[in-house]
Symmetry: C2
Subunit: 402 residues, 2 copies
Amino acid sequence: MTAPLHEARPAGVGRALPDTQQGMRRRNLARVLHAVSAEGSLSRAAVASRIGLTRAAVSTLVDELIRWGLLEELGPERPGRVGRPGSALAVSGRGPAGIGAEIGVDHLAVCAVDLRGAVRARAVHRGANRGRAPEPVIAELTTLVGQVVAEAEREELWPAGLAVAVPGLVARDSHTVVRAPNLEWRDTDLGALLPGDWPLTVDNEANFGALAELWLGAGTPREFLHVSAEIGIGAAIVVDGQLLRGTRGFAGELGHVPVRPDGPSCACGGRGCLEQYAGQEAVLRAAGLQPREDLVGLLAEHAEKGEEGVRAALRDAGTALGIALTGAVNLLDPETVVLGGALAGLSPWLLPSLEAELTGRTAGPACPVAVSPLGPEGPLLGAAHSVVRAVLDDPASVTKRA
Amino acid sequence: MTAPLHEARPAGVGRALPDTQQGMRRRNLARVLHAVSAEGSLSRAAVASRIGLTRAAVSTLVDELIRWGLLEELGPERPGRVGRPGSALAVSGRGPAGIGAEIGVDHLAVCAVDLRGAVRARAVHRGANRGRAPEPVIAELTTLVGQVVAEAEREELWPAGLAVAVPGLVARDSHTVVRAPNLEWRDTDLGALLPGDWPLTVDNEANFGALAELWLGAGTPREFLHVSAEIGIGAAIVVDGQLLRGTRGFAGELGHVPVRPDGPSCACGGRGCLEQYAGQEAVLRAAGLQPREDLVGLLAEHAEKGEEGVRAALRDAGTALGIALTGAVNLLDPETVVLGGALAGLSPWLLPSLEAELTGRTAGPACPVAVSPLGPEGPLLGAAHSVVRAVLDDPASVTKRA
DNA sequence: CTAATTTGTAAACGGCCATGACGAAATAGT
DNA sequence: ACTATTTCGTCATGGCCGTTTACAAATTAG
C-alpha cells in the first residue's frame, strides 16, 4: 500500500523555507546536525547512509558546519571492522548555547545549555514573587541572565537565544503574559522589559515542561499527555513530537474537564470540573490544612506521616484525575501519560487510585502512567533546550545574525 | 521573535522524500498543482508569485504537469488589468480519478471523483449486509467498482487508486478490518479480496467523513472535532489539517468518555460512558421504540411528530454529548465541533441541549457547533477525495506506475 | 605482504532554479 | 491612432548543489 501523503500545509523546516536550492542546502545541514546530535558521535560515511545523501555531499555539509562552530572533528574512530576507520564527528561543546529562564512564584532561575544538551551554567534566586510588579522581577531576572551568559562565555559559548518559562497564559507567538494568577500579572509584555538582541521566546512553564519530557525523558514516546498542576491543572498534549496548542492556544485545559456533571460549580462557569476535586485549593480543603508557600511539600509531609485525612484527600484527587484522564486517553490514544510538576512529588499517594480508575474504565490494555524524572527542573530545561532545538533545526540561522 | 522550528520528524512530502534535487522538483510540482487546484484557475505568473518561485521555473513545472495530463491550458484570461493577460491553467478534468467505495450496513456505494473534485460517476447497491460473509459482499462491491470505473473511463478518466470506507475498526496502515460489529466481520483482509493493481486504502468511515469535512466543508477550519455516530460514537480529531489517529489508531473514542462516573456500566469496562446516554441503543430504549433498519429515520419521524418521550430521549442524549464535548473542547481547543453522520440528521433535537451544556460550562466564548452539510455522503466522498489528494500531494506518483 | 574493504576527497556531470532579456498582448495617456 | 507602460510567457545563461566516478589512505583478513 502506498503511504498516504495527505497534507496541505506541512510544518517545520520541511516547507517553511522556499523550496529552492538554498532551502534544500539549509535543510540538509539540519539533517546532518540532527543525525550527529542524535547519535552523539558519527563519521561522515555513517551520516551519509543515515540521511540518504552521498558521502561527498555530506563532506561539504560537514565542512560548513565545522566552519560555523557547530560540529567538531574528534579524530579517527577506533576501528572495529575492516576498512579505513572514519573520523568521528560530534556536536560542538563550544558553539551556541540556549539560555533558559524560569519565573516561578518563589524563585527565579536561569541556565545555559550547549548544543550537546549539557547544562553549562546556572543561577538561581530564591524569593517570593507573588504580587510583585513585573519590572523589578524582570530586572532581577536580567541580572541572573547576565551572570549565566558571562559564565557561559567564559566557557567559549555564545547565547543563541533566550526562552522564558512563566507560570501563566502566554499569547500565541508573542512575548505577552496574558494572565499569571500566582504572580498577579496581567498583559505583561516581557519583550519590552527584557534586554537583549537575541531571539526571545516566552511560553507557559507547563508547555516547556512537556517539551523537556519529549526531548530529555527516558525512552520518550512521540505521543503523550503531560499532566502538571501549577496554576490549575493543565495537560500538555504532544502529538507526533509536537505540542498541540489549539486554535486559540488554550488546549490542554484538563482542569475544566467535567468529572461529575452535577458537582460543585466552578469559576469557569461549569460544574464538577476536575479542579474542584484535584486542584490545590480543593485538596487542601479536603485535607483540612492551611495553605502556605510550598504546598506540595506541605501535603507530602503530612501524607508521609500517615495522616489519613490527607491521604484520603489525595486518593480522591487521584480518582478524579483518573476519571478525567480516562476521557483524555479515550480521545487521544497517547502512548503514555506523564505526571509532572507538583503531581510528580505527590505521585505516591495519587497514583494508586488514579491508575485504578484508568484501568478499570478501559477495555484493552490501559494507558501506562509514568512520573516525570525531571521533576521541577522540567520547565527550565525545556526552555533552554527549545533554543538549542531551534539551532539544530536550522543551523544556518546562526550565520544569519550579526 | 523567530518562529520556532521545533520538529524532529516532519511529516508528508516535505521530508518523506530525500532532500535532493529530484525531491525538490517533485515537491515543487505538488506546490504548483496545489495552487491551481486551490484557486480553480490561475495563470503561470499567479502561481509563481503564490508559491515563491520564478515564472520561468513555474513554466517548466507546468509543462510537465500538462504533459502528464494533470493540468490543462484554458486559454487567455479575460484581461481586467494592464499588461498581457495570462493563460489560465486549470486542473484537468480528464486525468486521474479517485475511486471511493463505502461498505454500509444496508448499502454499498462507489463513486469516481476527478482531480477538480467533481463526482463523475457513481453506483449504489441497496441491500442489508449485516451478518453476510465478506466474500460475496466484496464481490458485489467489485462489480460496482467495475461499473464506476467503466463509466469514468468513458469520460477519459483513469483510476488512480481505490479507497474503501468501512463501518469498523481498521488496523493502521493496512487493509484489514479488525472489527466491524454491525457487519459482524472480524479480521477481514480486504486487500486479498479486492482485485486491482491500484493503490488501495481502507479506513474507518468516520475518518473519511471527517476528511471530507476538512476538504469539502464550507469555510472549513484546519482544526476541528468531527463527531459521528455510526457504530458507537466516534470523534475524528483534525489538528492542523491532519487526522489525529493516536498511537494505536484508537484516538477519537468519544463514546467511552465518562459522563457520569457512577453511571451504568458499559461493555468497555467503565461506567457512565457517553454511549450509555447517547448511543443508539440507549436512545432507543429511552425513547421506548423498537429498533429497525433505519434508526435515524425512525427517531426523526417520531421526534417530528412531537412525541415527547422521543424528544426527551434526544434532549438527554444532547446533554450527555454536551458534557463529553465540554471535556474534549477543553482539551483540544478546536475551532469548531461538527456533527456528522447520524447526528447530523438528528441535530434539530440534539443541538439545543448540547449547546446549552457546552456554553454553560465554558468561561469564554463557547466553541461553535456546526452540522455537517455533507450528511451521509461524507465517508464516500472522503474516500474518493483521499485518492485525489494523494495525487495532488505527489503528482509525480502518477508517472511512477506502469 | 597482498587482497579486500571502507573512508574521505576531488573532479566532472547533470539537474534545477534564478537572473536577465526579449517578444507578445493588453491598458493608459496623448 | 499611436506610443509608453505594464504584465505575461519563454529562452539563454549562470550558479548552486547533490551525484557519479575515481583515487589515495587506512584498516582487517588471509
